[in-house]
Symmetry: C2
Subunit: 293 residues, 2 copies
């Protein structure tokens, strides 16, 4: 069993991006600029956005954080999106989800100019990915695919089983794994809460991607000898052993599963660290106008 070290790969990619930013600046070109919009004071969202802003600074991007209180109206938020769409200095921006219930998330997502949609949530970017066209890939699926690539893990002709059909992980990663070429060319099965006999299907997986959000769902007897296991779960489970009072827990019962795997991602330190670098990379692509001119 070998560990897929997302933390190390993420650090490596950050160095690559930082180097490219240095070159961009040296050539007298515009510094990539990411804006993040944060509504309210949800603990998780605060942490995620703070990490994103810090990572921007680490690689030499400009970053802007725009904050609204919980009671911001949909119209105010749409006006903010419009300003960011029209601001030539902003290359890409994100509106941190979830939003308060009185705001329709899909209206906000669709109002973002798809050419600045570095979260890859706009239907145009989702559609282009499905069609195999270049676009902004959303962070978690892009991070998973990048890990497979960096470790040179064979995907062609493999059976990839995806647990979960969410819009931000399950469906897009399934789409990526079935595309023509590498990393892709997998036979792909998508399982979810309505799936019968999920164990039997998991046992067929050469590559198992668990994104259900159910702690330790995947047990040792559900995994084939030699499988590659990617654990996307990051449920906060209460713990008296940590300072924060919780422990990030994956969808995979690591201790049972790991001995059977050829490769496996730990939680934390696997897929998690990759999501931010995927966002950084999209911002770099946006700054260079490499996908959309």
């Amino acid at each position: 069993m070998r560990l897929i070290d997302g933390k190390a790969i993420a650090a490596e990619i950050k160095r690559e991006i930082a180097e490219e930013v240095t070159q961009i600046k040296a050539a007298g070109n515009k510094t990539p600029h990411l804006a993040a919009v944060l509504v309210g004071h949800d603990g998780g969202s605060e942490t995620y956005v703070a990490n994103k802003v810090r990572s921007c600074e680490e690689v030499g991007f400009h970053s802007t954080l725009i904050r609204y209180e919980e009671d911001v109206t949909e119209q105010e938020l749409l006006a903010c999106v419009e300003r960011l769409n029209n601001d030539p200095d902003i290359d890409g921006f994100i509106v941190q989800l979830p939003l308060p219930k009185h705001i329709r998330e899909e209206r906000i997502t669709e109002a973002i100019d798809y050419r600045k949609d570095v979260d890859g949530f706009h239907p145009i970017n989702v559609g282009r990915m499905s069609l195999g066209l270049p676009g902004f890939l959303s962070a978690t699926p892009a991070g998973i695919v990048e890990l497979l690539k960096r470790y040179d893990i064979e995907t062609r002709g493999k059976h990839c089983v995806v647990l979960g059909r969410s819009n931000i992980v399950g469906k897009p990663v399934a789409m990526l794994m079935m595309q023509k070429g590498y990393p892709g060319d997998c036979t792909v099965t998508v399982c979810h809460s309505r799936t019968k006999d999920i164990k039997k299907i998991c046992l067929q997986a050469d590559i198992l991607i668990a994104a259900l959000g159910v702690p330790h769902f995947v047990k040792g007897d559900m995994v084939k000898e030699g499988a590659v296991v990617i654990d996307v779960g990051t449920t906060r489970v209460p713990s008296d052993k940590t300072k924060s009072g919780f422990k990030l827990t994956g969808d995979v019962a690591f201790d049972e599963v790991a001995p059977k795997c050829s490769w496996i991602t730990p939680v934390p330190g696997g897929v998690g660290p990759m999501t931010i670098v995927s966002l950084m990379r999209n911002t770099l692509l946006a700054g260079k106008k490499e996908i959309y001119s």
Copy 2:
């Protein structure tokens, strides 16, 4: 074994649409208007477009056929798309594919206003379908799902195996079958040319959707007893028994497979007739501004 009669269902839906058009006109509202753009003189395309125009007339739509010779430039075609985008009398339009090689199909497809994209090929409509949002569904996947619905065939918790990963059938029908709700909630596996042991996977299918374009690929020993088989193949195989000199041939070896099925679509007369009514339905929705206002 029972036959899924696409021809009868298509006729039924056409009657429903015609009735609704009569009511729309009676209420003094605008008659839905579909335009079709045809480039060159490819035999298949001529037939498809002629059928679409005739079906429009049958249900009481207005229709407009715009023809270009093979040597039309991309710029001329884009200008035509722009005119149709801006023509308030045109509710929806299609540009018949394939286009001559000197024209980039994706540039044309993406130039079409997604609110008039009744073929459902624009990335926004593809993305919205993937996200589970309302949009124009492309004709063949929509037709397949409609057949399952009209015959009240259970899909929830079933294992649906899709053969083929094309942008117009395999990928979108896989996406539809895994969405929440009915018809959907399937465990979905997508197989293709790179799949190993395709027979073993087909044998797991409760619902098998064959869209490879390989005549008689699915044999009797690849199908489970009681399966539902949907045959999307329509390859023209030379034949001396027909006036046209060819015979439309499905991906399924019907004679061997049918006895094992609970339900099966014939070729011709199965999925084929449904594709045009899906286009008609999108045009009706476009005319009523039911999806996009």
